[in-house]
Subunit: 332 residues, 2 copies
């Protein structure tokens, strides 16, 4: 492996000058610079990242903590984020939390020793205040923290999130406006702040339309196919009557549609269903799923911009909120 010393020898300068040239520092005479550049090009020299990181006190690496990479929400975010930060020279270390607070805890214990440039928190599971000291400690060490699914801005972590409340309210209002009352709500509420926001939107739409809130039509379940399937099956078997389902996620919606089909209900003729998140397969199920949009590319751009700003010592906006829109397909 060629080192900075090899380049220095080839160019007839010191390693300090090589470093200055390669790091774009001012104050190197043109001919010295040219000789260094030529030598670097000729040898295909790449600075040893481990040495750079040790010396600079931090690496070019971002840790990305996702709820469950197997869910489209997270894999799509990961894809765009990786592409986006690669443009400013950052690598992504992926930690799959698998919805386990233990894994978050063990990551945070390790994180300070990793020399990370930053950490992106991307999980819908509530990150409780018990983690605040460790998060603050990381920030104190100069890491840039970012939360990309749930809001943590009020606890000092800049957040880039999607709007949940108004989006759900719009979807449920749409269902009510098309004569689909009563509306069942199936989604995570209790252990997810964004889930709670969505549920709040559901209730607001009901209230605006003068519809009563029926507890038996509210199912607080995990974000999974199975949960959607089981909740709706149970409701049908209990003889509950409803004209539509607002799901807290697309996978819940798919489970709901399957449950309805298996009990002989037609979607959307008998029961309308709206998902949440516009997962990549939602346009290809039959009926195609009506759902609420997501804008990972925009979020990834905002994240890149936040890291660039932090790097340059500029302020990072405490909160960026991305609106969603209703994507009307066939299921509602």
């Amino acid at each position: 492996m060629t080192t900075v010393l090899d380049i220095a020898r080839l160019a007839g300068v010191s390693s300090a000058t090589v470093s200055r040239v390669l790091n774009g520092n001012a104050g190197v005479k043109a001919d010295a610079r040219d000789r260094v550049l030529a030598a670097a090009l000729e040898t295909g020299y790449r600075p040893n990242r481990m040495a750079q990181s040790l010396r600079r006190g931090r690496s070019n690496t971002l840790a990305l903590l996702v709820g469950d990479i197997e869910q489209n929400l997270y894999s799509s975010l990961t894809k765009h984020l990786q592409a986006s930060v690669a443009e400013i020279g950052l690598d992504v270390l992926l930690y799959n939390l698998d919805h386990s607070p233990e894994r978050l805890k063990s990551f945070l214990a390790l994180a300070p020793a990793l020399g990370l440039r930053g950490v992106v928190l991307a999980t819908s599971d509530r990150i409780g205040p018990e983690f605040d000291p460790q998060l603050a400690d990381l920030q104190a060490r100069g890491l840039t923290l970012l939360s990309m699914i749930q809001r943590l801005d009020l606890r000092g972590v800049p957040s880039i999130v999607h709007e949940e409340f108004a989006a759900t309210r719009e979807a449920v209002s749409y269902l009510l406006g098309t004569g689909r009352a009563p509306v069942m709500y199936v989604g995570r509420i209790s252990t997810s702040d964004l889930g709670a926001e969505r549920y709040r939107g559901y209730r607001a739409a009901l209230a605006e339309a003068g519809e009563p809130l029926r507890r038996e039509l509210v199912q607080d379940v995990r974000f999974s196919y199975e949960a959607g399937y089981e909740a709706v099956t149970r409701a049908l078997d209990a003889g509950l009557c409803f004209g539509s389902v607002q799901a807290g996620s697309d996978v819940i919606a798919l489970g709901a549609v399957a449950a309805l089909a298996d009990r002989g209900r037609r979607v959307p003729e008998d029961v309308a269903v709206i998902g949440f998140g516009n997962a990549n397969w939602t346009a290809f199920t039959r009926p195609a799923l009506t759902t609420l949009s997501v804008h990972h590319e925009a979020a990834a751009m905002a994240a890149r911009s936040a890291f660039a700003a932090a790097e340059a010592g500029r302020d990072v906006p405490p909160l960026v909120t991305i609106a969603r829109s209703l994507i009307r397909r066939r299921s509602a």
Copy 2:
């Protein structure tokens, strides 16, 4: 941040002894060891990874290169692999190739400077022999290479793959045995070795059953919903007659099912469809998708074992092949 010197001071020994204790090296007296361990525990000491990596000449990091993390095949593999190698202390740096050979090229140019422990290649896109010199170079530097989707064992890269030929043959034989001829094949063939293997299985099943190969029923398309939808729509609009579709992937199958539904064909009554890969949503579409299994957990275990073996200087098996089975659901 506490360093090895702090621990040494606290324990009343030298930094060399601290290092020996922490790395499990033999030959440290019990009382010295205990004092070091106590000091480390008390301070919550974690060795600086950047310094360790520089000194040892390599990090604890594996690069994982995937075709497209947004596809369930890759996200599921990523999930299991990350969990699996975490158990032996390895982190995963994720590179999303997005099916671009350019990205692979630029990664390989950078890789030697990264101090990686290993590289996992996980893409269905053919990695041509033009990359062999760089791959060999990485191996010569002591990196452990592993290919987890396509076979590269004949080119010196240990591979952990799923069986493709017999699996497809079994699925297509099943279609023929249930009176579903002629069978259309929709999947990637030309730029993917594993796709070609699947297609070979299709042809073998046809030959065994004495069925003719009809070129117009073979569609060489990308692994995408759109491709499946368009290929089947085109076939129907051209008036082609077929009793079933063997898809080269689950997303192609979902596109095919949608195309059939949109043209008024019932699945499986009019046309049977078999997917490939048992993506996490396949049990929840209606009709539920009959498909061929995948065993990411087994593959991830094999990968962990390979890295552990390489670490210990033991031989890594050149090829591990994992069989698939037909998962019968509703669509065929």
